[in-house]
Symmetry: C2
Subunit: 218 residues, 2 copies
Amino acid sequence: MEIKLIKNVLEVNERQSEENKKIFDAHGIFVCNIMSSPGSGKTTLLQKTIPVIKERSRVAVIEGDIYTTRDALRLKEFNIPVVQINTGGGCHLNAAMIAEAMKALPLKDLDAVIIENVGNLVCPAEFNIGEDEKILIYSITEGDDKPAKYPLSFTNAGAIVINKMDLAPYCQVNIDKLKLEINQHNNTAPLFMVSALKGSGLIPWTDWLLSKIENKSR
Amino acid sequence: MEIKLIKNVLEVNERQSEENKKIFDAHGIFVCNIMSSPGSGKTTLLQKTIPVIKERSRVAVIEGDIYTTRDALRLKEFNIPVVQINTGGGCHLNAAMIAEAMKALPLKDLDAVIIENVGNLVCPAEFNIGEDEKILIYSITEGDDKPAKYPLSFTNAGAIVINKMDLAPYCQVNIDKLKLEINQHNNTAPLFMVSALKGSGLIPWTDWLLSKIENKSR
């Protein structure tokens, strides 16, 4: 009984995810679902990414948080559409939440929607929300042993951004070991080593994102 | 229907948690449930805590991970009972898992059980597992804005350990702001500022833990 219901929840979510994707596709909008642990720098990365993306495409953001509108407020200065979803305790965004948020977005006037998921390395990876790509942000401070411990987030990712590389010299982390283990779980996703805070290593990442956006809207 | 089932799951868990606690109490065993985001240093903290605790009490560890036995292996050198639970995708430990793990522990010969939960700042806080105290480990690298964004983990904690203080000088983090916000969500839990990696600030933490263990076994 229990298992059946959980399956139903995932099925209902998957159907809504497909509906969302159809609508995004019809508008030629590239959608990415950004996932990570809490405090790995998703919003800081967006603060450095949006000004670059904005030059060449029309972008909106959906911010997912359990509580507060803090992340949305940090993007205020960019003068782009930002919708904040508060899950009120929920550990991940689901497709129904995105369907609601889409109603508040000017879809006809957009090339890309960046969705920042709830900070959680486990649950968000199980729920498709209508995205073209899942993107994993991983802080180097989380160590070199996590891909095998949290495999779904790594396996599902269309791109992986290793953030806070400026802190690497002060952490006990073996970057070669981390890269090798990521490769064992996902050998197709491009890997970007950046420091969002310092603004370093970002050009390959924003180039990749722009190429994805431009391929979709073409 | 859906809501009813979720309520049942929590009720069943709560009953099992009470059963677990009765058994731990009957043996005078102090039990703590250690929670945090992935990579905040729970296992490293245990590696520095266990040698001190072990001097004065008989301690066992239950390690919770989605996959791998890596964390359990890191505690091998201490020659104490360690049980590894793999949730196989599950985002938190529940009381039934602990009931199973208890069967593998020599309860008659223990004063304390330290349970390391799955790395997740959201879901573990919702499930009691038979513990006396929930303990939140928080890495300073996660920033100063998280208590209001993830309130349950902070509110529920009987003690809060801020780890990786050695990295604070390299992060854009306002420690006074963080302390103030923690205090708004929990003004009773003691707050320990430590670097598990460097071994600094640990004495007040291990003293607190030992006093809890000794109060219970008395």
